[in-house]
Every structure is written in structure tokens, then in C-alpha cells.
Amino acid sequence: MVHATVNGERIQIPPGTTIRTFILSKELSPPQIVIEYNGEIIPRESWDGIPVCDGDNLEIVKFLGGG
């Protein structure tokens, strides 16, 4: 299993899981979220080509209500 950190939580995911696969597994719709991968913002079109590796750190964010 691959050990990574997503939104501050340590998780385990099957090897070979791409960012896009991970997003879809969480029933998230790509247009509503933005992803920072190891400190860099990753455009949506790249999600499919990036496998999540050991030690990776993802921040997955979306808009919500605010003033």
C-alpha cells in the first residue's frame, strides 16, 4: 500500500492510484475542487497522469460559504 497525507490525514491507498482515481473514489467532481500536490497546484488535466506515491502530501480544497 502507498502511504500519503491527504488534507492532513495519513492514508493508505492501492499502489498506482492516480490523483484523478483518488478524487473519483471519493465521489468528488473535478470541476469543484483544486489540488495542491507536494506544495504545487496541479491543473486538472494532469491529475490522470500523476500516481500518488509514498510520502506525498495532497491538499484537496473546494469553495464553500464565506463573507
Binding site: E27, L28, Q32, V61, K62, L64, G66, G67
Partner: protein
């Protein structure tokens, strides 16, 4: 009201001078009605980590297509954090506007002007349309203007308090001295207070809690829309002088003769 009284921020001409927030509502689904009833064309949102345990609704589905999205950098405690949040917000593809909100004070949520100036410098250079939320200090506002802010947004009172336009004296100085739109943001609790800010020459007001905390948010949103229009019209009309002594409304002659 003159036809051509649009507020231009960046390259966007706005007919409405009321901006509304999207927080604290019972449901995001009321947002379209609030926008329609108030006439607001700018809606703020925040950016947060996705909660994987929650139902994945998308607030963007509730933002009318004719409205400008203004993400804020709430959560940022430093300029660098604000810049990071702003870049994430822009990566969503929803536009270039950003409300810089840098707050270290947890009790009053007062903005840190110094960090806000730094964030303005960085983000304006990166082509954002920057609207910094700030404490009404003329020196800070000048620095934000010089750094490329599209407007300044001084608080009316601490966020969420509904206390009203408590900073009127200092905001009036900004309005007088800064050649940028001055948008009163935070603390406005009643439509009359929004009108007061507009009468004082504010370019716009931003309201969230006052609408969200009302018994009838949609009706309150409508009231705010009317108040902002009234206050703006009053400002353009040029209010009469305030006097100490009375001045009669009708001539002091030609009275009917006294009864004998």
C-alpha cells in the same frame, strides 16, 4: 439615479453596489434568491479542505452566472498563506478577483494591515484583481493603493457583530483621500447602516451576517439592495447642510391676522 453610475472594479462594470457573502445561510440553495432580491452582482466565498465525510455539494452551482465570484483568503494568518489560498482559488478557473483577508486575532477577527499590504503587493503583480479587507488606516490604504489594489475594503465593525458603521470617521477619511473605491465590509447590521455608508461616499458595501441572521434573509437582502441604492442616490444628490438652529420651511410673513 443616473444611468451611468456603474462601479468599475478591475475591468468589470457593476450596476449594483451591494456585495453579499455566502456564509452562515441555512442552505446554499437560497443564494440565487438572495442575489435576485438584492440585485447583488458580487458574491464572496471561502476556500477550505474538502471534508470527505460530508455530502459533496458544490456551492458554485448556487452562484448565479451573472455574478462575479470573489473568493476570500480567510484562514490566512500571514501574507504567504493568503497568497497560497489566492492561487488555489484562481486555479479553480472562476476568475481573478480575490478578497485578501489576513487575520491573526481570534477574538475580534481584525485584519492585519501589514500582512495584507504584503499580500496585495504579491498578488497584484500576479494579475489578480485585489480587494484587501483592512482596518481603516490611511497609511495602510495608501500602501495598498500603491501596491495595486483595485479597491480597499475597510471594516465597518468586527465581522459578524451587526454593530453597524462604527468606523465612519476613519472610513470617511479614506473616502476623502484615496482615489480608489472604498467598500465598507463587515459589521454592517441594518440596511440603514448600509445607506449611511453609501451616503458617506462609500463605493459599495459588503454584507453577509446581517442577511444570514435575519428572520427573513431574502426580504432582508431586498432591503439591503434598496438601502444601498437610496444611500448612493443621496450621496449623488448632495445632502443639505446640517444646521444648529431651526430654519422655517415657509416664509415668516403673510401669516393670517391675529384674532381680536
Amino acid at each position: 439615479m443616473p444611468n451611468n453610475d456603474c462601479l468599475t472594479i478591475g475591468t468589470t462594470a457593476l450596476e449594483s453596489r451591494l456585495f453579499i457573502g455566502s456564509g452562515k445561510y441555512s442552505s446554499d440553495e437560497i443564494i440565487p434568491e438572495l442575489a435576485a432580491r438584492s440585485g447583488a452582482q458580487v458574491i464572496t466565498v471561502a476556500l477550505r479542505r474538502v471534508d470527505f465525510n460530508a455530502k459533496q455539494k458544490n456551492i458554485l452551482d448556487c452562484i448565479p452566472k451573472n455574478c462575479v465570484l470573489m473568493p476570500n483568503t480567510s484562514g490566512a494568518r500571514t501574507a504567504d498563506e493568503a497568497v497560497r489560498i489566492a492561487r488555489l482559488a484562481r486555479a479553480s478557473g472562476c476568475g481573478d478577483w480575490i478578497k485578501i483577508e489576513v487575520i491573526q486575532d481570534n477574538r475580534y477577527l481584525l485584519p492585519d494591515n501589514i500582512e495584507t499590504i504584503r499580500a496585495t503587493e504579491i498578488l497584484a503583480k500576479e494579475g489578480f484583481v485585489v480587494l484587501p479587507y483592512m482596518s481603516p488606516d490611511l497609511g495602510a490604504a495608501r500602501r495598498m493603493r500603491d501596491a495595486g489594489a483595485a479597491a480597499v475594503m475597510p471594516l465597518g465593525a468586527p465581522i459578524g457583530t451587526n454593530k453597524g458603521f462604527r468606523t465612519k470617521e476613519l472610513v470617511s477619511i479614506l473616502i476623502e483621500e484615496i482615489c480608489l473605491p472604498v467598500i465598507v465590509d463587515a459589521g454592517i447590521g441594518r440596511p440603514s447602516e448600509a445607506a449611511e455608508a453609501m451616503e458617506a461616499g462609500a463605493a459599495a458595501v459588503l454584507v453577509n451576517t446581517a442577511i444570514a441572521s435575519a428572520k427573513d434573509p431574502a426580504l432582508m437582502a431586498e432591503a439591503f439592495g434598496l438601502a444601498v441604492k437610496a444611500g448612493r442616490a443621496a450621496y449623488l444628490a448632495g445632502a443639505g447642510a446640517v444646521r444648529t438652529a431651526a430654519e422655517a420651511s415657509s416664509p415668516l410673513s403673510g401669516f393670517i391676522g391675529a384674532l381680536k
